[in-house]
Amino acid sequence: MTTSLSQAPASGAPRAYMLPSARRFLLWTGLVALLAWVLVPIYFVALGAFGGRTGVFRWPKSIWPSDLSVAPMMQFLNIEGVFNALMNSFIAAGLTVVFSILLGAPAGYALARYTFRGQNAYRLLVLLTRAFPLAILALPLTVSFIRIGLYDTPFGVSLIHTVLALPFAALVTQSLFMGIPREYEEAAWVFGCTRFQAFVKVVLPLALPGLAATAIFAFVISWNEVFAASILTVRERTLTAYLLKILSESPLHYRFAGGFILIIPSVLFIFAVRRYLFAVWGIASK
């Protein structure tokens, strides 16, 4: 862990351009290794996804792509239930975004702008959710969801995913709203806005990028969740639940195709919110 640290000259400034070339070389070698560590498994699962049956059983394998085509992927998508599962994943994740923002952002606003009795209790409730393996709480919900007709629906899945995303959304939006000076709102009130108008005209435009990042995180949380989705669905499975179900009986190249489809949206989303990543997690992990 400390190789790069202990090798920096004691008297030198710890900046890259000040490092002697040998240490720089070492630093970049390490970094390239780390980048490869992250990217190579994704590359291989992509090869598996587009290589089809023959690709999977080729022996020995070459790390270079050969015989790739979209046909195996299309084949996978045409399997009965796959496209439906994909849609269910999108629906559940979309609903999770809507619910966690609609429920979490007002709470975040209240925490940011008001001091009120019960504030600490509320904060404790939100933080408490973090000490629990939340997805496991889907177990008893099976029964009640069957009773009220939410079992085996993307809507029902999105509810439990919102439990995962809501505390996150509340904390992140809290700090988002705290970053918008109260004076802006007060100025809007003085110049003729109601509270609601002031929120819409002044706070919302300023909070929008951060809210979008929060929404994307909520989406990713739901998109990736396996346990609760598998417990709460039978026919209307999400993609993760579907893949888990077929894991033991489906051929490898289908599994890789499914894994690849699971990875892609997340990678794009993380790219979209990379500017907010650290701000958001810095807050959410307090």
Binding site: P181, E183, Y184, E186, A187, A188, W189, V190, F191, G192, C193, T194, Q197, V202, P205, L206
Partner: protein
Amino acid sequence: MADIVIDHVVKDFGTFQALQDVSLVVEDGEFVALLGPSGCGKTTLLRIIAGLETQTAGRVVIGGRDVSGLTPRKRGLAMVFQNYAVFPHMTVFENVAFGLRMQKASTADVKRKVERAAALLHIDSYLDRYPAKLSGGQRQRVAVARALAVEPAVLLMDEPLSNLDALLRLEMRTELKAVLREAGTTTIYVTHDQTEAMGLADRIAVMYGGKIEQIGSPLEIYATPATRFVGGFIGSPPMNFIKVRCEQGIVRIGNITLPCPAGCEDMELGLRGEDAMIAADGSGIPFDVRVVEPMGSHLLLTGSINGQLARIVAPPTATINAGERVALKADPSRLTWIDSNTGRAVGRA
């Protein structure tokens, strides 16, 4: 145009009393400064007038209308905030137009009024820029223009110049005075800077500890402070206070005697550094000089009178050295007498 009546306003924050029974009348078209150190309640009072804060007791009446329970937008006023609160996601034009748009003014009206306010504050050349591209002084102008554009009956300003650097502050002060005189708006201006208050205001309300200590014209407040606090807060250097005993209407300091108002024994003699003259004949209040600071326009002498700290202003050409003892004279009518027990001035009609 409107007058403002602040009627026995009290504000508690939990157990802390931010305002203790404050009353103040601001005439139509008058410019009143609320002046005091931080924590004196001046901003709280302003925010209560604006409706951003609700008083615990008392009323606020603007133009004969009791606005105590009304939200800010229904009070018909405009405000300039300490940090300007110029909306970053709107152009300068939209910022200045904000209040007019909320009043649903016609497009032509908005354009005309924005342009007039912008011209008044010399921001017409960057109306389509975003605030992020403006300097602090320019943002300040936008904030003032936004407030003036709605032609408010009442204008509230919360330390509007405190975030500017010294030179810009002086420039903006002069300009504000000219602009506001022309607009003729009833203005309440919160500041902790006495020169701002003295320079701008028709009247100053000096606040301390949640109370108004004194209301009066800048000259009155300077010349005849009503309390020890006002004397010490206004003026540079602050007024000197020398503990004396008043016996049978007479006070002795060194080898001179001064007549003092009757009524109490423990008094403090308030003497402005600028009012003291160095007596050529050596007879007067003895002053032991410890430090001499040449300030250009004057010499600032720090030393002691009867063992008590005092600061005296001397002409720049005077030849006085540290360690010297000089005698001071003062016009008795410019002396302030403070009752040590109450801290209030006594013996003044």
